[in-house]
């Protein structure tokens, strides 16, 4: 379960903060906050690289392992939560993956605002492949386990190419 948030040191999409040295050096790189339990499960140490994959795309981030984010135990099922700051992009003094690459375009009925605070995602330890290898890699790791429920207008999951995706679950298999 992915949630996004803001940092004090940066400003929204980063245009007014990623280009300033005094602000960029306070938060120089894209990171993802994960709980120690999830880190142990994925075999990831504090500071390693992890990739966050959703239906829409994938980005890489440094893993910040901290007790400040905790798994939620809902009647027997454990839901891991991952925190992602916005702010980063591909230009400026400091760069990183843009959390918005992962979010879906969905319109709230009254004001068509997107749902940015809760989305399903998959975590794969290691770095994001670049160049052409990206396409094939992402097919392997797309979260087919995905949401238990489907909104009537949500596209059925089988439209995702590459049928041989391993059954879902939170990145347990992708430990390589």
């Amino acid at each position: 379960m992915l949630t996004t948030y803001r940092l004090t040191e940066h400003h929204t999409a980063g245009g007014m903060s990623r280009f300033l040295s005094h602000l960029s050096e306070l938060q120089p790189e894209m990171f993802a906050e994960i709980s120690p339990e999830l880190a142990r499960e994925l075999g990831v140490k504090n500071g390693d690289y992890i990739c966050i994959v959703t239906l829409r795309g994938a980005i890489e981030a440094r893993a910040l392992v901290s007790r400040r984010i905790r798994p939620v135990h809902l009647n027997g099922k454990t839901v891991h939560q991952v925190g992602l700051p916005y702010h980063f992009g591909t230009s400026g003094l400091v760069r990183g993956g843009a959390a918005n690459d992962l979010l879906s375009i969905s319109g709230e009925p009254n004001v068509t605002i997107m749902e940015a605070k809760a989305a399903a995602c998959n975590i794969v330890p290691g770095r994001l492949p670049r160049g052409a290898a990206f396409e094939e890699w992402i097919n392997k790791h797309v979260p087919t386990g995905g949401p238990a429920n489907l909104h009537p207008e949500q596209p059925p999951l089988d439209t995702a190419k590459g049928g041989e995706n391993p059954p879902g679950g939170h990145g347990k298999e992708e430990k390589e």
């Binding site: 004090t8 040191e9 940066h10 400003h11 929204t12 007014m16 903060s17 280009f19 300033l20 040295s21 005094h22 602000l23 306070l26 400026g92 003094l93 709230e108 004001v111 068509t112 605002i113």
Partner: protein, 188 residues
């Protein structure tokens, strides 16, 4: 000779001996340190508001003959009382950092690099583009009802624009050109 004694008297060792000090006090101060004062002492002040988040902290912008000196919190603001956050405190660098663009740039279709273009020329070209696109796509009537709009030009504004700028944008784009695809970040 006089200059020699003057030079000697400036030597902190002499001052140290004369004042029987241990060399760590005011006697070891250089003239530059003695003459130190805040660079904003005789600067003009413009009262402004921080451009970052919605809290609306007051800012004092110190400037002297056309150059920015420093930006600080405005103590009389009932909201911020002189304080700022890290982004607000970095406002001075926001306006003066070296990566800020100050030249008009243009990228031709299929080009790989930016090219220089004058501001006036760019304004004329944009006006032509808008005029042609509107001419091509303007819909006066739609099955009987006059709608007078075009959906081929859109505007996506940020929420850091002033109210007056927003007013002019809405007035020209919607009331003047009939553009309906006008949107910005603020929704709720």
């Amino acid at each position: 000779m006089a200059s020699l004694t003057a030079l000697l008297s400036k030597w902190p060792l002499i001052r140290q001996i004369r004042e029987r000090a241990d060399g760590t006090g005011l006697e070891a101060m250089s003239d530059k340190t003695r003459a130190m004062h805040a660079r904003i002492d005789d600067a003009q002040v413009a009262r402004s508001i921080c451009p970052y988040c919605g809290v609306g902290c007051g800012q004092l912008i110190f400037h002297k003959d056309g150059k920015l000196l420093s930006i600080e919190g405005d103590p009389e603001s009932p909201i911020s009382q002189g304080n700022l956050c890290p982004k607000g405190a970095a406002s001075y660098q926001l306006l003066t950092h070296s990566r800020r663009e100050t030249k008009m740039k243009y990228r031709a279709p299929r080009a790989k690099e930016w090219t220089e273009i004058s501001l006036e020329r760019a304004m004329d070209v944009v006006a032509d583009r808008v005029w042609e696109s509107r001419k091509r796509t303007f819909v006066h009537k739609q099955n009987g009802a006059t709608i007078n709009h075009t959906t081929a030009i859109c505007h996506l504004g940020g929420a850091t624009l002033d109210n007056e700028e927003n007013y002019l944008i809405k007035k020209l784009f919607t009331a003047g050109l009939g553009m309906v695809c006008v949107s910005n970040q603020a929704r709720i």
